[in-house]
Subunit: 395 residues, 2 copies
Amino acid sequence: MVARYPDCSMRPVAVIGLGKTPFGAFPDRDLRSLAVEAGSKCLENGQVKASQVEAFYLGNFAGPAFVGQNHLAPYIGQGLGFDGIPATRFEAACASGGTAFFHAWAAVAAGIYDLVLVTGVEKMTSQTTPRVAEILASAGDVAGEMKAGATFPALFAMIARRHMHDFGTRREDLAAVAVKNHANGARNPYAHMRKVITIQQALAGKPVADPLTVYDCSLVSDGAAAVLLAPLERAAEFTSKPVRIAAVAQTSDRFALDQKDDITTFPAVRRAAEQAYKMAGVGPRDIEFAELHDCFTIAEIVALEDLGFAPRGQGGRYTSEGCTLPSGPLPVNASGGLKAKGHPVGATGVGQICDLALQIRGEAGEMQLPRHELGLAENLGGSGASAVVTILRAA
Amino acid sequence: MVARYPDCSMRPVAVIGLGKTPFGAFPDRDLRSLAVEAGSKCLENGQVKASQVEAFYLGNFAGPAFVGQNHLAPYIGQGLGFDGIPATRFEAACASGGTAFFHAWAAVAAGIYDLVLVTGVEKMTSQTTPRVAEILASAGDVAGEMKAGATFPALFAMIARRHMHDFGTRREDLAAVAVKNHANGARNPYAHMRKVITIQQALAGKPVADPLTVYDCSLVSDGAAAVLLAPLERAAEFTSKPVRIAAVAQTSDRFALDQKDDITTFPAVRRAAEQAYKMAGVGPRDIEFAELHDCFTIAEIVALEDLGFAPRGQGGRYTSEGCTLPSGPLPVNASGGLKAKGHPVGATGVGQICDLALQIRGEAGEMQLPRHELGLAENLGGSGASAVVTILRAA
């Protein structure tokens, strides 16, 4: 994609509105009501009527499996009051939200539409834990790794174990990610889990897949998030606080860990980051804060390295030294991340964009960071087969 | 979308390659191998290497439910030899293939990419018939109509019954669609069912949902189809027979039949047709042949009306008079349609594009029509909540 950039005159695109539901376990809410709540809040936030929206982009991983309803885009679109516009569901596992956002950005940047709504949603908690594990496993290599018993916690445990072996990363480094993200989540009124934990608690957590404990794993959540996009030149019609999409890149990689040369890095993230930095004309040192895909604590550590924030193998140390704390040089997951904010799969990538935009607009409340003008989001699918990296900046 | 057309300089886009598997019941084939076969044939047909492709667009309705594998785009992309490019799955029920095609066209037309592969796939026959019915029903209003027992055959039976009541459409008119499409399918070496039937057989078919019999219902099939897109200005690099995408439009509508004012018409198809005719600068009288979404015989009749080929209420009569035969003024479903060619849901919309392109290139063999320069495809999702209309012409 980036190869074509010099040849096409893409328009700058802005996030002009955002809306979120709390993330959590909501037994009385159905999938559509969550998506409609986030979307409606977003339209209101952007002062846009449903009749003005030209296309609807929905990120959803496994609604058909979780709640039995497929064909979700027009189903939710009708609930939002849309009438006749293209309504499409995008699926790329845990990167479904980021993928919908990428395609929506491309359509506005290319001049196809002016006003588009992107919504991500997942409703997970109505299923039993074993069934949730089975549905999540369908994002991995079902006939290979999964058949052999390797669910995602096991795959990321292998990544953690190898990272420890190759680079000397310690259990304490993983725990430092959990402690930080729990502390951050406690300041987020929309977080699933607002519970501060100590490093001793994290280290003594119930084992899930050695070396990962429950405190290394993200949460199974219900929730939705939405953003409205428009050409930057029209943003002032809708908001006094437009946020510019400086870059967004989507990539893919080999599907299963056993097909990779090195499981301690995600080439899809490296490629997406390379493209995004080039597009935005910035480097990792310019980024002021980030929302990273901490589906497991080790994933945040690997992301720090793949995105160029920490040297190869040093992501754990970088975290333990406090560099990613809200007070550090690169605050990561000030929202609490997937670990504490929650991980309603299809909503996650769009929720990250909302959290970056809230910071840039200075509306992050207790989560507000001192430097908040240039933020990066990384959204990962499966064990690295899909990735989306986005850079937002104050307009 | 069409409102923005005058404002943006979209590039003309061509289909430069196509590839299909046969449609049928293939117990020894898995979903990925079907998609990879169609995609590989397509790359070969377009004389394009996998390394040249810039993005992968996958249409798939319910792979996770039919075969247990989700996150299908990078999974299949790896099988095709793609390395790192954006790989995205598009879902819009039975219009999943058309929807992937629409977004791929938009990306090339807007100058984001030059070379993209669109593939549609579904593997349905590994499930039992009741489970297939349940999975298909998830494209409809599960908590409403479906809970009340209205599966798709029942919904389309209601449409047929109402069409008979309002316009005097006869059982013989429905049967005429089946007889024609079976005769056409018998000439298609890639069709699921190559069996000529008589009108007596069609009328005496085993009842499914009155007035529809087995001969009024499309087939449950496995299969895949793929097309390669490129800017028209580059098409000559790859093929001596480029096919121009004169128009493509995607729309949505209310989700359930009980929310519609009139169940004998699909407003999504009317809107998409209006946009597509405008974009292509043609009207229904200019179209020389069409592939229509005959999931049920009544759907072909309604489509004839919604697309402006027959006057309102006269689609049945138009068919019985022979107008849609290969020898008639508007040949419809020369491929056999969903009725005889088969309906592997996610593949259907892309397969229609292949069948139009084969005709335009003069490569349709025994199916070849006398007039074959301007063709239209209509792909429907659910009971009309999604629609994609495409017009292709000789370049």
